[in-house]
């Protein structure tokens, strides 16, 4: 009987592992094809063509800012240097306790303008003031001061006050490539039968890089192991994962730090959800759900290029808090939309995407944790054939190394950011140590997040105290 249980459990983990492996292999081929297709299409719609055209959609960048006094000026200047013929920048000061607003008013010579009759279709915290610059060189800038309400609420204020067709949701501390909007707008220009309801792109990590006046001057590999391994993780996730999903219109997540959406659709769905900590995932799911319910053909697309640079957590403490929050966000969105599971009303989203996310994204840390328990248990009971176990472990480890290497190879082959041998060796070595140094910490963080949700332990976003690129996140 015991042996039957042992074989049954082993079979379950084996099937789960093989299924996951199969998906990753599929992701690689889909991503490769998608990158290839994207590069071929780019030839026929260059950024110079878009920059030169008159009827391209107008874009507003909405950047919430909270307690970013030290870097807010250079961040805003960086965002203003974006090259696009019709763009506006709205910086939303989310009730900062520091001197962010005062610095902005002084530097950009801002004056208040009346906003009594501004229509605000999405309910938000109170807007205290709307400021525009007296200087003509900053005429694209609007600063909105509001009561603190969180990032999602600040973005909703920006959406309310924007007057353009498209909204780019970002963070004030992100460094956005100057041609980013020109590239992100491509899918909107080329849409024919399916409406584009969201467009994302790769986000890179710029810790320890050379930043001058808010512009990324020289990209360097982060010195610390924790940040370096996240570079590999991001490359894998964006280049392989998201590109693959985009290829089959299965993308359920556009990063909150960098996503372009049609304003009218954002308003139709009521903006971002202020009650969840995973508002980016939640928004994408809700947008898709909305379009499915309206029976309107749509797609969510992804540009396979790093267009936005950010700082990743550089200490394990902050990293755990971030991944804990992501896990809670995932939990919230999945369970808040549980009516979509295997619901044919939502077509591929209900029958394939949601189940996949539940079983392999949400379920993976749980399965892994159970697997560890089972290994220990079976070892104690003497069921394990150690020769086979070691070889299996070695094989799985090498497969993991192969996937990371494939992701780095694809990146190096197609993009110029990491072009020195030393950089590639640094990234590969970080990837090969990942299962031992990084993955267990991530597993712990995810399970911590689930534990909090299971036992209804209150936990929020956290406060950011900025010193420049490389700051610590404190739990609020």
């Amino acid at each position: 009987m015991n042996y039957w249980i042992y074989y049954f459990i082993s079979f379950f983990f084996f099937v789960y592992g093989v299924a996951l492996l199969g998906f990753y292999i599929g992701f690689f081929f889909l991503a490769k094809r998608a990158i290839h297709k994207s590069q071929r299409r780019e030839i026929f719609l260059k950024v110079e063509d878009i920059s030169n055209a008159t009827d391209v959609p107008s874009v507003t960048l909405v950047a919430p800012a909270y307690n970013e006094g030290r870097t807010i000026i250079s961040n805003v200047k960086s965002l203003l240097s974006i090259q696009y013929p019709f763009f506006e920048l709205i910086v939303v000061n989310d009730g900062s306790a520091d001197d962010s607003l005062e610095k902005l008013i002084q530097k950009f010579d801002l004056e208040q303008k009346p906003h009594k009759f501004n229509v605000q279709p999405i309910p938000t915290a109170e807007v205290r003031g709307v400021y525009i610059s007296r200087k003509p060189q900053y005429k694209q800038l609007t600063v909105i001061d509001k009561q603190n309400g969180g990032r999602a609420d600040a973005l909703n204020v920006g959406i309310n006050f924007a007057t353009t067709e498209l909204i780019l949701c970002t963070d004030a501390d992100c460094i956005i490539e100057q041609e980013a909007v020109l590239k992100l707008v491509r899918p909107y220009l080329e849409e024919v039968d399916e409406e584009v309801i969201g467009c994302g792109a790769g986000i890179g990590i710029a810790n320890d890089s050379v930043i001058k006046n808010g512009i990324l001057k020289e990209l360097k590999i982060p010195k610390k192991y924790l940040t370096r391994v996240q570079v590999v993780e991001y490359i894998r996730a964006f280049l392989l994962g998201r590109m693959a999903w985009s290829q089959i219109n299965g993308l359920l997540l556009i990063s909150g730090a960098f996503g372009l959406y049609p304003r009218n659709r954002l308003i139709e769905v009521g903006g971002l959800d202020t009650k969840t900590v995973g508002e980016d995932f939640e928004l994408c799911v809700r947008l898709r759900k909305h379009m499915e319910e309206q029976n309107i053909p749509y797609k969510v697309v992804y540009i396979p290029e790093t267009l936005c640079w950010t700082e990743s957590p550089s200490t394990f403490d902050i990293f755990v808090k971030q991944r804990d929050r992501w896990a809670r966000g995932l939990w919230e969105t999945l369970f808040n939309n549980k009516n979509m599971f295997f619901n044919p009303r939502y077509k591929s989203m209900g029958l394939l995407l949601f189940p996949f996310w539940f079983i392999f994204e949400f379920g993976a840390p749980i399965v892994e944790f159970l697997g560890i328990i089972c290994i220990v248990l079976f070892a104690v009971l003497g069921y394990i054939n150690w020769d086979v176990a070691v070889l299996l472990f070695l094989l799985v480890y090498l497969l993991g190394c192969i996937f990371s290497t494939l992701a780095i190879y694809l990146y190096v082959k197609n993009y110029p950011h990491y072009h020195k041998g030393k950089q590639i060796i640094g990234l590969l070595s970080a990837a090969y140590l990942e299962p031992f140094l990084f993955h267990p910490v991530m597993l712990f963080a995810q399970l911590k997040g689930y534990y909090k949700k299971l036992f209804k332990i209150e936990s929020g976003w956290g406060n950011m105290v900025r010193k420049g690129f490389g700051e610590e996140e404190k739990e609020g």
Partner: protein, 120 residues
């Protein structure tokens, strides 16, 4: 008009535009300095340029802020904007910062541009 002693400056990131504009100016008698990287512009250089032809799109610089910097750091007579970017929304703002003698968006008829310069 004899432009032999006149100094000009061309600022363009694109090499193709840079070389062609430089050649055009030299063909009408200007001494021409051509720069494709504005970080090389020496703010302490007090050379007076009779003519400046510049783009507004440069890596790491917001178009309007760039014009403001040009106004403060360069000494020049006339200034023309030659750009690949659509400028209809920015023209007024640019002119509010610094009066511009002419806006030329690609495709540019260089003969017409040359004749305009000769008439000045």
């Amino acid at each position: 008009m004899n432009g032999k002693s006149k100094k000009s400056l061309v600022l363009q990131e694109d090499l193709l535009l840079l070389f062609v504009l430089k050649k055009m100016l030299e063909s009408i008698g200007y001494q021409c300095e051509a720069i494709d990287n504005i970080d090389l512009l020496n703010g302490e250089d007090k050379t007076h340029f009779d003519l400046v032809i510049t783009d507004v799109l440069f890596k790491g610089h917001a178009p309007l802020e760039f014009i403001s910097q040009i106004k403060d750091s360069l000494s020049f007579g006339k200034i023309y904007i030659v750009s690949d970017m659509e400028l209809s929304k920015l023209r007024k703002s640019i002119s509010n910062i610094q009066p511009i003698d002419g806006f030329y968006e690609t495709p540019i008829d260089l003969d017409k541009f040359k004749n305009n310069l000769l008439e000045q």
